[in-house]
C-alpha cells in the first residue's frame, strides 16, 4: 500500500498546473467572463494537443495510456482555474467520438433531470451530443458534426429545447424538455449517429468522479484565496486572519477540501461505485461550502463581480446538478450498508 502520489503523478500535476497557468491565466478567465467566450476553440485544441482528452487512451491509439488516478489529478487542476467547456464529456468521448481526443470536437452530454427536463451544458457549442437512456446500457451519439446540435436535437427528437441565461457566465445552458420523465431522448427514431462503446454505468461513474475532481480543485483554490485575503485584509487594526472566527472558517474549509480530495483519489484508485458516490457527495459539499465561506471571509469584496469567488460558487452549483446529486449518492451509499 502506498496511497500517495507517485513521482510521475506529481510531475503530471505540476505540468498541468504550469500548462494552465500559461494558457488560461486569471486574465484570460476574466476576459472569457466579460466576453462570454465560453468555448475557445483554440484553447480546446491546445488542451487536446496537451493530451487533456486522450490521457487515458492507449498509447497505440495516440493516448498517454494513463489511468483514472491521473485523470482526476488533471481535472482537479482544471477545477482550480475554472477552466470552461464540456471537459468531462469530451474527455469521456475521446476514442469514441471523432475529433474528441484531439480537441477538434466539442462534446456535450444530456442526462435526465427533474420534471422531465434536463439542463444541458454547452449544447449550442457542441459538435456532438451524448445521450444516456435509462433502458439502454449504451450512450448514443445523436448528431455528431451537426452544424447546430441544439437545432438538430430539437428537430430530430422533437424535444423542446430552449436556451436559458446561465447562472454561471462560463457554462451556457439549454433546458431540454423530455417526453417521459427519466427517459432522456428518443427511444426510437431520429438520426442516431452512433453508439458509444462504453457501458453507461461506467460512463456515469467516471463522469461523476471527474466532476468531483473538478469540485475538489475549486474547493482547494477557495481555501487558498480565503487564506491569502485573510492575511492581507486589515480591520480593527489587524489582519482579519488573526481572528479566531476567520481562522476557524479557513480550517473548516481545509478539512472539507482534504476530505473531498481523499475521497476522489480513493475512488479513482479502487473504481468502486460506492466510493465514487462518496466522492461526489463530499466534493460537492466542499466546493459549495468553501466558496460560500470564502465569500464570507472576503466580506463585501466577495460580493462584487470583480472577485472570482462567485465564479467558483456558481460553477460549483452547476457541477452539483451534474451526474450524481446528494439524494442519489446518499441513497446509493445507504443501500450498500449491511
Amino acid at each position: 500500500m502506498d496511497f500517495q502520489l507517485t513521482d510521475d503523478q506529481r510531475a503530471l500535476r505540476a505540468g498541468v498546473r504550469e500548462l494552465l497557468a500559461g494558457r488560461f491565466p486569471r486574465e484570460r478567465l476574466r476576459e472569457a467572463v466579460d466576453r462570454a467566450r465560453v468555448v475557445d476553440r483554440g484553447l480546446w485544441r491546445e488542451l487536446g494537443a496537451a493530451g487533456f482528452f486522450s490521457l487515458r487512451m492507449p498509447e497505440d491509439a495516440g493516448g498517454a495510456g494513463l489511468g483514472t488516478a491521473e485523470a482526476v489529478l488533471v481535472f482537479e487542476e482544471a477545477g482550480r482555474v475554472l477552466l470552461p467547456g464540456p471537459l468531462v464529456a469530451t474527455h469521456l468521448a475521446a476514442g469514441h467520438v471523432e475529433g474528441a481526443a484531439e480537441g477538434e470536437a466539442v462534446v456535450a452530454v444530456a442526462e435526465p433531470g427533474v420534471g422531465g427536463t434536463a439542463m444541458v451544458e454547452y449544447l449550442a457549442q457542441a459538435d456532438a451530443l451524448l445521450v444516456g437512456t435509462e433502458e439502454g446500457v449504451r450512450l448514443r451519439v445523436l448528431a455528431a458534426d451537426a452544424a447546430d446540435v441544439a437545432d438538430a436535437a430539437s428537430a430530430a427528437a422533437q424535444w423542446a429545447v430552449r436556451p436559458v441565461r446561465s447562472v454561471d457566465p462560463l457554462t451556457p445552458l439549454h433546458r431540454v424538455a423530455v417526453g417521459e420523465a427519466g427517459a432522456l431522448g428518443p427511444t426510437g427514431g431520429g438520426p442516431i449517429a452512433g453508439v458509444l462503446g462504453l457501458p453507461v454505468g461506467r460512463f456515469r461513474r467516471e463522469a461523476t468522479l471527474l466532476t468531483a475532481a473538478e469540485q475538489c480543485g475549486s474547493a482547494a483554490r477557495t481555501v487558498e484565496m480565503a487564506v491569502e485575503y485573510a492575511g492581507v485584509r486589515h480591520q480593527f487594526g489587524q489582519a482579519i486572519g488573526t481572528f479566531q472566527a476567520v481562522k476557524h472558517l479557513c480550517a473548516d474549509m481545509l478539512v472539507r477540501a482534504e476530505m473531498g480530495r481523499t475521497a476522489v483519489y480513493a475512488a479513482a484508485v479502487t473504481g468502486d461505485p460506492q466510493e465514487a458516490a462518496a466522492a461526489k457527495l463530499l466534493a460537492d459539499e466542499a466546493a459549495v461550502r468553501n466558496a460560500r465561506d470564502c465569500l464570507q471571509v472576503f466580506g463585501g469584496m466577495g460580493f462584487t463581480w470583480e472577485a472570482d469567488v462567485h465564479l467558483h460558487l456558481k460553477r460549483a452549483w452547476v457541477r452539483v446538478e451534474r451526474f450524481m446529486g446528494a439524494r442519489e449518492a446518499e441513497e446509493a451509499l445507504a443501500a450498500g450498508l449491511s
Binding site: 439542463m119 454561471d168 433546458r175 472566527a245 464570507q296 463585501g300 463581480w305 460558487l313
Partner: protein
C-alpha cells in the same frame, strides 16, 4: 403577553387597507430595474401619494413633520403595504429611514426646515456614504478626509456600497475631520450635494450581476460647513443615535415576504413532484417554523420598543433576529434551489437571483461574526479579547 391589536391599532390597519385597496390598482406599472431615473420618479411619486394620504414619515416625530406613530403602527404599516404588494420605499430609503431621522434628532432648526419636508414629500432623494473599501465591518476605520477651508470642508476619498447614488440629490457622508483624534472621535457627519463638482459615481456590479450599488469617488468636493449636522468630530455619536431608530421594524416587510415566498416554494414543490421527498418536505417545514418564530420575534422586539420608548437600550432581540434571519433567508433560497433542481441554474429564475443576493445578508450591516462578538460581549458580558 398579547398579540392582538388594540381597537385603535385595528382602526389604523383598516384605514390603511382601505386606502391601499383604492390607490394600488391605479398605480402605473413599475419601471425596469435598470432604469434609474424611472425608478426615482416612480418611488417619489409613491412617496408623494403617502404624503398626501398622511402616511409619510409615519414613525417620525410630529415636530419633524411625521405622524409620531407607535412602533406597532409602524409594524402594521409595513406589514400591510407588503401584503398588499405596494411599492417599496426604494429611492427614499436613506432619506426616510436614516438621514432624515438623523437630521430630525441632531440638526438645527434651519437644517430640519431645509431638508425634512422634501424628504417627506418625495422631492429630494438621499444616499448614504458611510462604508469605504478599507472600512467595512470596521466602519470607524474610514479615511475619507474633510479639511476645513473657510466656510467649507474640502472632502477627498471614496465610498462604497452606496445605493441610488446615480439619482440622489444628497448624500449623508461620514468624513474624518481630525486625523489625529482616536478613531471614533475625529469623524463628522455632512450633507453633500451629489451634483457638487468632484463627485464621481461608478456603478458596482455584484455577484448577482446587477448594479444596485455604486462607488462614489470624492475629489476635493466642497461641502459648506453649514451642512454639517452635529458638532465637528461628533459624527460617530450623531450617526449611532439613529441606528436604533428602527426599533425592531427594519425587517418587517422582508419577513412577511419570506413567508409568502416559502408558500410559493411549497406550491412549486407540489407541482413538480419534489414534495414527495420527505427530506425536502421536512426542510420546508423547518423553515416554516423558523419564519413563523422570526415574525413573532419581530413583534416581541417592536413591543419592547413600544414599551421602553425612544432612546432606551434595546434587549438582545435585535441581534438575535439579525443573526438568525440572515441565516434563515439563505436557507430559504437554498431550499428553493433544491425544489428547482437544474432550474436553479437559470439566472432568470427569481429565486436564483434571490439566492445570490441572500449571500450578502451574513455580511452587510455587520457580518455574522461581528454580530456574535456583540452578542457575546454586550449582551452576555463576556470579556473583550486581548
Amino acid at each position: 403577553m398579547d398579540l392582538d391589536c388594540s381597537e385603535e391599532e385595528e382602526a389604523f390597519r383598516a384605514g390603511l387597507r382601505a386606502w391601499l385597496g383604492e390607490v394600488l390598482p391605479k398605480l402605473p406599472p413599475p419601471p425596469d430595474p435598470s432604469d434609474w431615473p424611472g425608478r426615482r420618479a416612480y418611488d417619489c411619486a409613491w412617496q408623494r401619494m403617502l404624503y398626501d394620504a398622511g402616511y409619510a414619515g409615519l414613525h417620525w416625530p410630529a415636530d419633524a413633520g411625521g405622524r409620531g406613530a407607535t412602533p406597532t403602527q409602524h409594524l402594521i404599516f409595513l406589514e400591510e403595504t407588503e401584503r398588499a404588494g405596494a411599492p417599496y420605499v426604494g429611492a427614499n430609503f436613506v432619506g426616510l429611514l436614516h438621514a432624515g431621522p438623523t437630521i430630525a434628532a441632531e440638526g438645527t432648526e434651519e437644517q430640519r426646515r431645509r431638508w425634512l419636508p422634501p424628504i417627506l414629500r418625495g422631492e429630494e432623494v438621499w444616499c448614504q456614504g458611510f462604508s469605504e473599501p478599507e472600512a467595512g465591518s470596521d466602519l470607524a476605520a474610514l479615511r475619507t478626509a474633510a479639511v476645513r477651508d473657510g466656510d467649507a470642508y474640502v472632502v477627498t476619498g471614496s465610498k462604497i456600497w452606496t445605493s441610488h447614488a446615480e439619482v440622489a440629490d444628497w448624500c449623508e457622508l461620514l468624513v474624518r475631520t481630525d486625523p489625529r483624534a482616536p478613531r471614533h472621535r475625529g469623524i463628522s457627519w455632512l450633507a453633500m450635494r451629489m451634483d457638487a463638482p468632484g463627485v464621481t459615481v461608478r456603478p458596482l456590479r455584484t455577484v448577482a450581476g446587477s448594479e444596485e450599488f455604486a462607488e462614489v469617488f470624492l475629489d476635493e468636493v466642497r461641502v459648506p460647513v453649514a451642512h454639517r449636522v452635529g458638532e465637528e468630530n461628533d459624527g460617530w455619536r450623531v450617526t449611532m443615535v439613529t441606528l436604533s431608530f428602527e426599533r425592531g421594524t427594519a425587517f418587517v416587510g422582508e419577513v412577511v415576504a419570506c413567508r409568502r415566498t416559502l408558500g410559493h416554494i411549497a406550491a412549486a414543490a407540489r407541482a413538480n413532484g419534489r414534495w414527495h421527498d420527505p427530506v425536502l418536505r421536512r426542510r420546508l417545514g423547518r423553515l416554516a417554523a423558523e419564519f413563523s418564530v422570526l415574525w413573532r420575534l419581530t413583534q416581541w422586539n417592536v413591543s419592547e420598543a413600544q414599551r421602553s420608548g425612544p432612546g432606551a437600550v434595546p434587549g438582545p432581540g435585535g441581534s438575535v433576529f439579525k443573526l438568525r434571519y440572515s441565516h434563515a433567508r439563505q436557507e430559504l433560497y437554498e431550499a428553493a434551489a433544491e425544489v428547482l433542481g437544474g432550474g436553479a441554474l437559470d439566472a432568470d429564475e427569481e429565486w436564483t437571483n434571490a439566492r445570490l443576493s441572500s449571500l450578502s445578508y451574513t455580511i452587510a450591516a455587520g457580518t455574522s461574526q461581528i454580530q456574535k462578538n456583540i452578542v457575546a460581549e454586550r449582551i452576555l458580558g463576556l470579556p473583550k479579547g486581548p
